[in-house]
Amino acid sequence: MAALRKTFRINKKDFIHAGEASISVKNLLKSLHVDTKLIRCVSVCGYEGEMNVVMHGGEGILSVEIDREKVILEISDDGPGIENIDLAMQEGFSTATEEQREMGFGAGMGLPNMKRNSDHMTVESEKEKGTQIRMSFSMADEKGE
């Protein structure tokens, strides 16, 4: 099955351009006339992922794979890694700095939001090596939201 693959760079601490990769993915899905709810879910997850990299990670990559049945979003970085993934998955848990909170980020909803908006999500992380998040979204319209 034909699959479209694309990768986008996420730059360290680049708050100005954070979100642009997700916007590109969003536009691809729009030109395919994918269901708007699915576009919304993929966009939200992509953006949360991008922000995580910009805030905590080092350099990162967002890659997307689209075929007729699903969208797979993968966000990886070479940052400090997540110490306790189970803890990080809890709503409200955040390691954001005061400064980041002042900017309106770091509510501890990033990963839980990604989990809620994707059909399947895996998080792999190793301390000092980086984090890799993989989310899949089914094209069939059976999402909860």
């Binding site: 034909a2 969003k26 030109s31 576009i39 919304r40 953006y47 075929d67």
Partner: protein, 431 residues
Amino acid sequence: MDDAKKAFCYVHVDEELCGGCLHDVKACPTRAIRMKEGRPVIWEGRCIGCGECIRLCPAGAVKAATSELESVNEDQISVALVSPVLYSQFPGTMPKEVLTGLRQVGFRHTVDMSYFLEMFQCAAEEFIVRNRKTGEFPFPLISPVCPVVVRLIAVLFPSLLPHILPIMRPVALMVREVKRQISLKYKGKEDSVTLYYINPCPTKMDSDRMTFHHERPYIDRALGINDVYAELTRQLEKPGKPDHPDIFDYKPTENSLIWGISGGEIIDMHIRRTLAVSGLEETIAYLEKIELGLFRDVEYIEFRTCPEGCVGGTLTAVDKYLAKNIIRKTFRKGDIGRRVSRDNIHQLYEEGRFSAKSSLAKLAVTFGVRNTPLSIEDLMKIDELLEQIHGMDCAVCGAPDCRTFAEDVIRGKASLGDCLVLQARGMKRDA
């Protein structure tokens, strides 16, 4: 261009003035313009009437499709519905005098919109407060007042359609009331009444009515503020104007004057978490962000695609910063507060008299899926083409950027031979 054709577009091009530059092609937010054989071709189904091409055309060749002021004198009973932005064009002149001036220009009646802006504001507040409890509509809710924003969402951000506040726009509330009053006063002669809307936006005329608004009831004709400016100025300069009160005498309020400036809609709203954004580029950037899930803690966003708000409208006559200044000065002279009775509004609200749900749904269909979807294979081919072209969005092919050009090629609307970069590299035509 013949009149019939003109009538279906928001804008049209005066071919004699057009110098064949690419400003409009590049400026169009929905990528609706292509340069074909040195002349811009507008894909009207995708045109949302933002007026950006009118603004940027250096030759003044792109024009808004509005009616002619001369026709006023041919009408039996002409009624001017006035956007408060009109008042901001005349320094030192109070709104009442502007309306009198319009009647001297030839309108039988003049109606000020202020009262209906207040009505809208009350209904909007009511909706937002209720929505806090029901959560029926997603926050942030988006103001439906700027018609370009509503169409922009329908064309480029369809997933945000549920965010548009489903309350009838002030102009529609005004037309409904005016039509009611007309049928009382001119019983049996309703057909000889022509409703004109004087406003700062490009307007599209359908065969027999205006589709500038997505909701009923319809207006018959639209005039740009710049269409009436010269004649109105002449009238206002005449000394000793007699002033007879009009049957549609709704006094303009301070609140309405400020609506012309970005932020004017929300400043007096009893809602705390609001934002006002103006300018086309900024509006698009914020809509992108809302689609990414941001601003969920904001309850209401006022968008205006014109810079600084409606005073920056494409069809205004006076500079937007001057107009802002005029508003601030007039604003200080006036002393009228809100007059709408909240209880009355609640009553009407309960009766569903403000709901615009069905008209928004209709709009989504009209402006929605105008483009056939691309397939995953198409997108892959577009990527291959882009790699081949490796251009710099020069737009000489007539498309605004390389990606759009590649998409046009895939859709069979352009030929690879149109690309100068490929030609320069010795590619064969129609490769």
